[in-house]
């Protein structure tokens, strides 16, 4: 089971801050495609991805127990 976190407008659009996905050994990119259709998140493609609190590449493989966060363009400061 992979935990997935949404923030900012992704959180508002999906209506969720956290979802779980039954998957193991999938690429971040696959996971993204699956979530984009499930939750109707047209902006998901603009988000960066963090795996276990570190920025990752689209081809990173995530396993059960990992925490994947979708990071829309940041606007702190």
């Amino acid at each position: 089971m992979i935990s997935v976190l949404f923030f900012a407008e992704l959180q508002e659009t999906s209506g969720r801050d956290k979802v779980t996905v039954e998957a193991d050994g999938v690429s971040v990119n696959e996971l993204k495609s699956r979530l984009a259709s499930t939750y109707e998140l047209p902006h998901l493609g603009h988000a960066m991805i963090a795996v276990n609190e570190e920025y990752s590449q689209e081809d990173t493989v995530v396993n059960s127990g990992d925490v994947v966060a979708f990071i829309p363009p940041v606007s702190g400061g």
């Binding site: 976190l5 923030f7 900012a8 407008e9 959180q11 508002e12 659009t13 902006h43 603009h46 963090a50 609190e53 570190e54 920025y55 966060a69 990071i71 829309p72 363009p73 940041v74 606007s75 702190g76 400061g77």
Partner: protein, 158 residues
Amino acid sequence: MMAKNYWITEEPIDPGDCIEKVVRNEAGAVNTFIGTVREFTKGKRTLFLEYQAYVPMAEKKLAQIGNEIKEKWGNAHVAIVHRIGRLEITDIAVAIAVSTPHRADAFDASRYAIERIKEIVPIWKKEHWEDGTKWIGDQQENTSYDTRIPSEEEMRDD
């Protein structure tokens, strides 16, 4: 006052908390940058802001910025705090303090810190105006995600 030098808080920020953490015998200069909530941006009135963070990762990224500064400027101590939640006009959103032996480095490192925060730290700002709200999409405030009905232009901007 928090024991750590890089933290996210829901409470009002006292810049003195950052300053105290970096003052030390070898330092002759402390530069502090404070970002406050501005009422007008490009002529549009902000009522208040809402900040959200991916807290544990944001604190890690703030610490990473501190380490980058130490690599670049050597003898520097850094403390950074960012507030989340609802912030009113003039409230402090972020405070950075950098101490160095000499002043030029303190200015440069503090400037570096705020630019890096706007690039890599997972914190988001939602503008609340009289006629709507918007999660701001990048530091130039050119791109944004309208939470109501995006205009065609805004969609192209994405």
